[in-house]
Symmetry: C2
Subunit: 253 residues, 2 copies
DNA sequence: AAGTGGTCTAGACCACGAA
DNA sequence: TCGTGGTCTAGACCACTTC
């Protein structure tokens, strides 16, 4: 189609395409509907497939589309509000906890974790794997690092294996007095194993929530939770799941 | 180098490249150092430039690299911890506030904002633009929506224009009793104007923090703050800026 | 003017899911 | 087996910064 003269200050094609598609999604498509395939869409808009894909990637990042290899591209439902850190003064594994313990091992954590826990860099800690499911969809995978000193009364005889062992460790943790917790959120990319659990490809964008549980002035446990960035909106503070529905890309100027 | 036989389950080239580059960054480069240009790097690794770029994009997303058109690719410093919602019971504009008011207009907000504020969809509200700078770098741009009913004593005579007017509106807001606030975080992409303020390109990944300020049982103000996802780690809770330095991509398995 | 990253193209082949 | 999205290539040109 040759050179286009879309704008006086030429906006990238993929950006313009993203805008056009956004409007089309809101007016002509409903949630769950399947879009035409990438080759057809690219032809329809007169761009290369790579350019079309760049626009789709943006929309997927913003949680408006969901793409699955071998299946197709569908219109995504609105992001789910996921409460984080509302159990402000509860240990992981408390009664109202939404996490499913999956496994527990005893191993040496990465150096950065050891430093935060103030354990030696060669010291093994309990590593509990948990997953979080909302509305039938997996939304997060977590690694919980618990120094052996935080669960001193745990004996080998108590701890069979797998999820049962994870629960035993968490139960022991409850016995200590929790003084507070600190949360941090940052953008990351899913490692291969997390990606698999979250039903995404490696490198998919995730929100990494790091929580430090503090007891007796020290870090008694460290949680690193990996949330799907495309489907989740993390809520903090007083009342969690209130629907604000602020769309991060369509605001007044 | 022809076809590679890296893995029995073939890992994508860009993903492998990302791993190799991550290790190289940690062992052979220091913060601020300039990498070879993309064409040279691609040739060195025997891949197409597009593939190399896919790996660099990942690393930039993870906050390890910084790329600037016309300049080059540099090793990024560790993400800065940015406290969010620690002023848990303070209005925006309080004494210790880190935001710089830039402007203030009176306009009709987007429908989603009007709904959250419980104002009519055609009702104009004060819109305060503020920016946040840390370590000399812009990290966030904010739009604050304040219904006129939240600052009833504000008179036209008090409000000249620009930053001064923004400060006047915030000052009026302080007079009300704040009951609480709610925060939500999600991934978004920077609009053109935010991108410019954050020194990024349109579509750059951002963490969108939506805060609802509650007074007298109603939403008295709504803040939508856009943080650079590549350079920021948002901290919540008791004590803000503690360095945990958890690297979101290099954890034990 | 030279060099950088950003955009775009037109192909090819692969991995996966469903029929 | 077929259709989907995912990866990869080898180019071209553009926008921006610096000299």
């Amino acid at each position: 189609m040759g050179t286009t003269q879309l704008e006086s200050v030429p906006e990238p094609k993929y950006w313009h395409l993203r805008t056009v598609l956004t409007e089309a999604l809101e007016s002509e498509f409903s949630v769950g509907e399947i879009l035409p395939n990438e080759r057809d869409l690219a032809a329809r808009f007169g761009v290369a497939r790579a350019t079309l894909r760049q626009a789709l990637e943006q929309l997927e990042l913003e949680g408006r589309l969901q793409r699955r290899r071998g299946v197709g591209t569908t219109v995504a439902p609105p992001r789910v509000g996921v409460a984080v850190g509302t159990e402000q003064h509860a240990w992981p594994g408390a009664a109202d906890d939404v996490w499913q313990p999956a496994d527990c091992t005893l191993a040496v954590p990465p150096a950065s974790v050891a430093d935060a826990l103030e354990t030696g860099r060669d010291e093994a800690v309990h590593i509990v794997r948990r997953s979080r499911v909302t509305h039938g969809q997996p939304v997060a995978a977590e690694l919980l690092y618990i120094p052996q000193s935080s669960v001193p009364d745990l004996t080998a005889i108590d701890t069979p294996s797998g999820a049962a062992r994870a629960r035993a460790v968490l139960r022991e943790l409850q016995r200590r007095e929790l003084e507070g917790q600190e949360n941090a959120v940052e953008l990351g990319s899913a490692r291969a194993d997390d990606a698999k659990e979250l039903d995404r490809l490696p490198g998919a964008p995730v929100l990494v929530v790091t929580t430090r549980y503090i007891a007796e002035g020290r870090t008694a446990a460290l949680s690193v939770a990996t949330y799907r960035a495309d489907t989740c909106r993390l809520t903090f503070g007083d009342s969690g799941g209130v629907e604000i529905h602020q769309d991060p890309e369509r605001r007044a100027s």
